[in-house]
Amino acid sequence: MARHVIAPVDELPPGSRKFLEIDGRPIAVFNVKGEFFGLLNRCPHQGAALCEGPLIGLATSSDPGEIEYTKLGEIIRCPWHGWEFDIRTGQSYCDPRRFRVRAYPVNVEPGTHLVKGPYVAETVRVAVESDYVVVEL
């Protein structure tokens, strides 16, 4: 697995995202409140530039009219068909029953423990080393 230095941390302040191509693959790196996430910039549904979509929260409900809004800024919404993906895991939320299954363990588990929906956006490991943002690919 190669390591790619993509930017100094200063170039990616919280709330920003950077689009780049590594080994011919379109990648986007996000800084969400100081945490860095990388996603393949291609929606697993129909190939749209997923990472150009807005970052929103996750709406869930236990009773009609009551909405719990969590994961603020951590859900990327595809600009083509509005499908929602968790920026941390790449997990699709268009089948929220699966979400409900995985919601019982608290959100700090690694993605490998979660039940997968039909589509998973490809995530890319991002690390900060010596003030540089590094992508492992």
């Binding site: 929103i56 996750l58 709406a59 409900s61 009773d63 009609p64 909405i67 929602e84 029953r97």
Partner: protein, 358 residues
């Protein structure tokens, strides 16, 4: 021809009120005098004009009077004819059109009491649907509770086209009462004619109204699902009556597709629409809007991904089929048994309880 089997449940029979005066014996003194002094004659909506072909099969049309108004005719032409064990009576009388909630309440009470005395008491195969004054939620719930004491009432009846979409929370006390009392909500074709019977305005011909019923059912299904009726009332069953069902698969393809994209607007819809339909929605058999080729029909059933959705119905006396061909060609014996017996018994919990005439 696919032969029906004995012991089936006919989920859509229409006993006709001969005349508004037929209900007068079941009204209070005040409403009896209102009917007579105002000269009120009848409540016939344009959903089923008496002389329209849809309103009666030609060989079921009596020499005089409304089709479906004589119990002997229903017995001979529907119950005996198809070996029916239970027949569910869904009176289609224009009480939903009335704008006064007090008058609607008086007429509904009379209609339900008339059904008990003139039909249910006269043939122990018959079961009833509670017609409710939807003009008032409080009165509708009270009427459900009043009638539900008689276990021969197995369902609550509403029309597919009323004043507002059926998923709106305004109606939810009705659904809560129905769920609590083990009564499915039957949604029958027909309109209160408070809105145009199509979403695009008033048409010119009866065929426009009748064909538009299928669109109304689709719109109501969307409303019921996205408003969260079945999230709040997971045990509530709803039965689409005289809705047709061949449109279901493509309708669900569309609903499912857009639900995925705008799921966050209605996060209480926590299952795919198809799964909600499978667990909570049923459809009466007639009319079968499909070509008569068995392969076509069975492909439609495959697309529906369930053999539990369809409930046997003749839609008596409406003209949906000729002769004995109440079942479409190509149904397997297993599917016939499910449609005629298993699915209705699973849907109408009150049919599974040995009835006690009060």
């Amino acid at each position: 021809m696919t032969s029906p089997i004995a012991g089936g449940v006919d989920c859509d029979l229409h006993p006709a009120v001969p005349h508004l005066t037929s209900l007068v014996p079941y009204m209070t003194d005040y409403w009896r005098d209102q009917v007579t002094t105002r000269g009120m004659a009848d409540l016939i909506s344009q959903s089923y004009p008496v002389n329209s072909p849809i309103s009666s099969r030609p060989d079921w049309r009596p020499a005089q009077g409304k089709p479906g108004s004589a119990i002997a005719d229903m017995q001979a032409q529907a119950l005996d004819k198809f070996g029916t064990a239970y027949g569910i009576c869904n009176p289609l009388y224009g009480v939903q059109m009335v704008f006064s909630e007090d008058m609607a309440n008086a007429f509904c009470r009379a209609l339900n009491d008339w059904l008990v005395k003139e039909w249910l008491d006269k043939d122990d195969r018959l079961r009833g649907s509670i017609v409710i004054p939807v003009q008032s939620i409080e009165k509708a719930v009270a009427e459900i509770e009043r009638c539900a004491e008689d276990k021969r009432f197995v369902q609550v009846l509403m029309l597919v086209m009323g004043d507002i979409p059926l998923g709106k929370r305004y109606y939810w006390p009705i659904y809560a009462a129905a769920e609590r009392l083990g009564l499915p909500i039957g949604i029958h074709a027909g309109s209160a004619y408070h809105n145009p019977p199509s979403s695009v305005g008033w048409g010119s011909y009866h065929i426009e109204d009748y064909v538009a019923q299928a669109q109304a059912f689709q719109t109501q299904l969307t409303s019921l699902i996205v408003e969260g009726v079945f999230a709040r009332h997971p045990n509530l069953k709803m039965v689409m009556l005289e809705s047709g069902f061949t449109w279901l698969a493509p309708f669900l393809w569309r609903l499912h597709k857009f639900w995925r994209g705008i799921r966050m607007e209605t996060p209480w819809v926590d299952r795919a629409p198809l799964e909600i339909v499978r667990s909570n929605i049923r459809f009466s058999l007639q009319p079968v809007d499909a070509p008569p080729e068995p392969d076509t029909l069975n492909r439609l059933f495959d697309h529906m991904q369930s053999d539990e959705l369809i409930l046997f119905s003749t839609d008596y006396p409406h003209w949906q089929f000729d002769g004995d061909a109440v079942l479409p060609e190509g149904l397997s014996p297993d599917l016939v048994r499910k449609i005629m017996i298993d699915n209705p018994l699973a849907t109408y919990s009150r049919l599974r309880v040995k009835e006690t005439t009060p």
